[in-house]
Symmetry: C2
Subunit: 348 residues, 2 copies
């Protein structure tokens, strides 16, 4: 029922500093109480109405609808680890569901905080492409059901922060170079000053595991969707340039240290028997940089994305078909990583 | 002039917990002032007398005499790192010398603290063998020159702590198992209580690099040489049993952690580009244990001993023929280690 891990991450050949792009839209159906106000019966009724539509959308073919109440906990964990559902949706009961396209690039959460949370996600820097996709799905659903909308405010949402476009654009960025040159903090502070939100992907604040940062635009009022996305792309491009610059400086003045960092990560990932998810994320950051800088071959960025995902608890448990203790997880994570990197080679 | 690194370490196939055995005798020539009291002329005269004898000893064939004043600093460093001379001898001027047998198992320091410091050293647990060797050399020199000797006290030495037999027996032990089970401290405390001296090979106190400990018997009075050596062998055997026991327990109850420790060391030694001597010693401890427990193949303990030695500053500088800065040493050390471990393989 749940497809092989991370089809959206593995499907193209993603490279570079932007690991993935994501856009989500918050929408509510006209004349229906918001999920927080609605009773279970109303929520279930809405889902029933929507289900029929999801499977016939021209802009979202081969859609699968997964009802949260019918899913095993492991399956919900897997969906959460793939960023397809939120923890909040996973915990909700009858009426809550996820509709996903067969390539997992389009995902719609039903009866989370809003009636609909439409999300498009793709590897690399593809904000404009996914905007086109999600915009098409959004228009089709709006034509069928009508959205709660105010001419003054725009789309109405459960939380005032989403009112307006209901849009949130985000990218996951790998800022290993800036981290090594100790410039990640000033860059993040700069982004936050102009209204962007930056958080470490799994750690707290700037204590990101694996030098992964999620940068997102929370602004939803006063501009069109296209304007918001264009401005966001400009900022992400600027951060990408900073990161490239840091890498170039490191390769120039710290070449041996840089290769040492990559080579040590390579040696540990290929040999360790026990590995925590934090350590794995940190070592994969070095390996990813090594691949992108030509120090490591025999493995590509899509493999690294797969390893990142398959080492997470839910995915590990799904692969073994049972609940695993922390020690079993650390051992299995290390083994899967070793196997996946069998053909990796240091080139320097 | 100085032979290839570590012939005494590489010559046999040493295995096990006792890395090397060493016995030294402190002796002074009858009727000649002790080195600390003698002027330069007297010291040089003594060396001249002794030199002729060293090259014709039946018990020590093919002896080479190296005068400290004529050696380059790099060569003195190399001898010191092989435990053939002391820092003190290296710093002394005319009259100070080292006589070494071609296999480097017998070494005699001339005009260090005493006129003669006779040393026999061999890989593994060979205290009885080297006692026979050094005893033969000692008797031959005594017959030729006569030693300062008191019927009440025994051999007279510059420092009262050596008076009597003038004997010091020591072993270098690899106590990785006891370190991992947190038992190294109680074992060391026990040995010190019964009069043995234990020190970390390069670190301070019990903060040994690479889990290497030098255990030595300082007692020189009141027993014959044979009695002292027998008692010392019994104690070393006891510590060896403790270490074996610790390893067996670890293999039984902590197998995955143990293999993880070995595999991580293997991965770093085979890949790192920069390595300090302390890190190298610590990682080699894990690799050594791995070889002895059958987790690592394609490399033997003699190789590990060679790697241990060739990464030291003097040996590195000797191999390149010039003085190296700390960064160059760390890079060269890592490269030599990688090359030497090219055929090493994890078996588990």
């Amino acid at each position: 029922m749940v497809r092989k891990p991370g089809s959206w991450l593995g499907m193209k050949k993603p490279t570079g500093i932007v690991i993935s792009s994501r856009i989500r839209l918050a929408r509510n159906i006209e004349g229906v109480a918001f999920p927080g106000w609605a009773g279970e019966q109303e929520r279930v009724q809405l889902l029933t109405r929507l289900k029929g539509c999801f499977t016939s959308l021209a802009s979202m073919p081969n859609t699968l609808v997964l009802e949260m109440a019918e899913l095993a906990e492991t399956d919900r964990d897997v969906l959460r680890e793939r960023h397809l559902i939120s923890q909040e949706l996973a915990e909700r009961g009858p009426g809550s569901a996820l509709a996903i396209s067969s390539d997992e690039q389009i995902a719609i959460m039903v009866n989370e905080e809003d009636h609909l949370r439409l999300q498009a996600i793709a590897p690399g820097m593809q904000l404009r492409d996914i905007w086109d996709k999600i915009n098409a799905v959004d228009s089709e659903i709006e034509d069928l059901f009508g959205y709660a909308f105010s001419p003054q405010l725009g789309y109405l949402t459960a939380c005032p922060s989403n009112v307006g476009t209901g849009l949130r654009a985000s990218v996951m960025m790998h800022l290993a170079g800036l981290r090594l040159t100790n410039e990640v903090e000033p860059v993040i502070n700069g982004l936050e000053k102009i209204g962007l939100t930056v958080r470490g992907l799994w750690g707290e604040g700037t204590e990101a595991y694996g030098n992964m940062f999620q940068v997102s635009n929370q602004q939803t009022l006063g501009h069109s969707e296209a304007q918001i996305i264009d401005a966001f792309i400009d900022l992400v491009t600027e951060v990408t340039e900073h990161e490239k610059n840091a890498r170039a400086r490191l390769a120039e003045s710290q070449r041996v240290n840089l290769i040492d960092w990559v080579a040590r990560a390579y040696g540990l990932l290929k040999n360790a028997r026990i590995m925590s998810s934090q350590e794995k994320a940190d070592l994969l950051s070095a390996l990813r940089l090594g691949i992108e800088m030509g120090y490591v071959g025999g493995v590509d960025i899509a493999d690294i994305n797969q390893i990142m995902l398959m080492g997470k608890t839910g995915h590990l448990q799904k692969s073994t078909g049972r609940v695993l203790g922390p020690e079993e997880r650390d051992t299995l994570r290390a083994r899967l990583t070793r196997n996946k990197l069998q053909n990796a080679k240091l080139l320097e």
